[in-house]
Symmetry: C2
Subunit: 364 residues, 2 copies
């Protein structure tokens, strides 16, 4: 049997720096745990545009469809701000999500004990926080047609379309209910059914799937604005949250920031099972390309490292190996080893990106 395959797309900004540490960890798993991967590397985002004039070359897209899992760093940067919409770095990422049909974006928002003090929220509000946001990732206003900027009389008009089909809602709802069963058995679904018909359909379909298949899971509904409030007020009331692409974008970033550990948070984007039974999958940190600190060796590689841990768990069914890696990260944090983003006190010297990699490898 051949080794499972990984496509590495470091991307822009701090992407290559943090991914370099993950590569070391992948090598460690091959050498020390007999978990060998066939690794290939390619371009996405601004760097792909620089080379090919497109943020995702067709060959890269084809490779992504063939491998067992894609690991992505980050895309974007001010250099590309003036580019036409159709070739912006983000379009590369969005194309991967859409063409691989990665409909379930899993974004855990977890507060690491050693970092609870670092949140802007009070310690008792966030200590021990562990919620999972399941964001729909292939539809909604991100992809709906018609879209564009049109001329009407002598005015420009900007148009986007929020569009959800019943089956698109049902499949991501199932992902959320399945996850809840392995956690605390609670799902909260968020939309704006009070002002949007697409939100009414969302609420109805989630309710129908629940009634028919997941009556053992506790289901509640909340308007997305109330959701933003409740996440801020008392986030521990939630277990799994399921929501659409746009609300999920804002709410998962909000939830990530609650933990105070943005540089710590991984994500998995999963699609339907392939022939070998593994889901189509892309793993990436929640943080962006952080152009302001790129190339300085300051970036925190942990979110990207933990994204690889998610790959071990969700793509390769190696839950115990994922936990090994997560424990190593926790142990490093417990020792007070910190990159610059995790320091709020003056006078403490941060470690560099690669020193953080060293520390995790030493723990492993």
């Amino acid at each position: 049997m051949s080794n499972p395959s990984l496509l590495i797309l470091p991307g822009d900004g701090i992407g290559p720096e943090v991914m370099a540490q993950v590569m070391r960890i992948i090598d460690w798993y091959g050498a020390k745990r007999g978990l060998k991967f066939d690794v290939s590397e390619d371009l996405v985002g601004g760097c792909a545009y620089d080379k090919h004039g497109t943020p995702l070359h067709d060959d890269t897209m084809a490779k992504a469809q063939e491998v067992d899992a894609v690991l992505l760093g980050a895309v974007g940067g001010p250099k590309y701000d003036k580019l036409d919409f159709s070739v912006k770095p983000e379009r590369g990422l969005l194309r991967l999500r859409k063409e691989m049909d990665l409909y379930a974006n899993l974004r855990p928002a977890q507060c690491f004990d050693a970092l609870a003090d670092f949140s802007s929220l009070k310690k008792d509000v966030v200590a021990g926080l562990d919620i999972m946001i399941v964001r729909e990732l292939t539809s909604g206003v991100y992809f709906g047609e018609p879209r564009g900027i049109f001329k009407e009389g002598n005015e420009r008009v900007g148009i986007n379309t929020q569009r959800y089909t019943e089956s698109e809602i049902a499949r991501v709802a199932r992902s959320a209910f399945e996850l809840a069963r392995k956690r605390n058995n609670k799902v909260c679904s968020m939309e704006k059914a009070n002002v949007m018909e697409s939100g009414i359909l969302w609420r109805d379909v989630v309710t129908e799937v629940h009634e028919a298949e997941y009556k053992d899971v506790e289901l509640s509904h909340m308007y997305a604005d109330a959701g933003a409030m409740q996440l801020t007020r008392w986030p521990k009331q939630f277990d799994v949250i399921v929501t659409d692409n746009l609300f999920g974008d804002l709410l998962s970033d909000l939830a990530a920031m609650l933990t105070g550990s943005l540089g710590m948070l991984p994500s998995a984007s999963l699609g339907a099972p392939m022939e070998n039974g593994r889901p189509k999958a892309l793993y990436e940190p929640v943080h962006g390309s952080a152009p302001d600190i790129a190339g300085q060796g300051k970036a925190n590689p942990i979110a990207c490292v933990l994204s690889f841990a998610m790959a071990l768990r969700y793509s390769f069914d190696k839950g115990a190996e994922a936990e090994r890696l997560e424990s190593a990260v926790n142990a490093v944090l417990a020792k007070g080893i910190r990159t610059a983003d995790l320091l709020n006190a003056e006078g403490v010297t941060p470690v560099s990106t690669s020193q953080m990699g060293d520390a995790i490898l030493a723990e492993l």
Copy 2:
């Protein structure tokens, strides 16, 4: 000269309770400050549906168009959850906003000194916080066509349309820049120009208005997801935030919750000037109808009281009288007088809605 006219729409849930205290304050201004208003009262939301089968009767709509300002309590409640979309309580409110063309929704998020401890955020993050969110209120996905739930093959599809014209964006941008000039001269505009063309137009038009008319104001742009994060991390970086209807809904609720004082926050929704020079205007608390505590005399009337203060300022050019009322509220809080929502310690007895009204009147 006749007295300025006010239309009072107490609405549902705690709406009537909190509005009753405002009526007492309106009377006080008439008796003690020579500020007499012609006050009429009518129905909106679920109570209007109960009586007329519509959440806003045409006669009420016509009255709202004629008066100098509308004061609204809150709409909605579980009793109306199963109603058809077209007659839900919220439609009454949305119709008022749309037909009065109240395009600029001003939502101050202010942290009251006496309440800084009450936030879920750390005291240094929120103490002294004073930001103003200007939310576009008459367009975007709230009103765009086509919209609805349609049948496609044997599937239902939910559709809404985000739609902004150049002039809709320009006028609300102007409102934000004007406000900034009276504050700390900074505007941050939020959209998702990286994934939505309507966001690109938003960013372009805000930039054009800035270049042409408000170069003295400092302008920045942020993606709305990053905005949610930054509001959570360090909200004091902002002065005025301008954003669209849907992002504004989430972000202003988030900002309100940061202050820990949701029951304290008023809002103003302003349109174009009428013949008498006053803007079309509706004032309402940011909080909802809170059906769980309705009718129990527990609700905090302060948000509604401060909405009337905003009316004094923005509709009647009585800034000093508005400050008088705001100072009275501050003085009451400084004395430790609290409704139940403002208590986090056990063993302290909260005051009732009307006792809070008494206290504010005593201060005045």
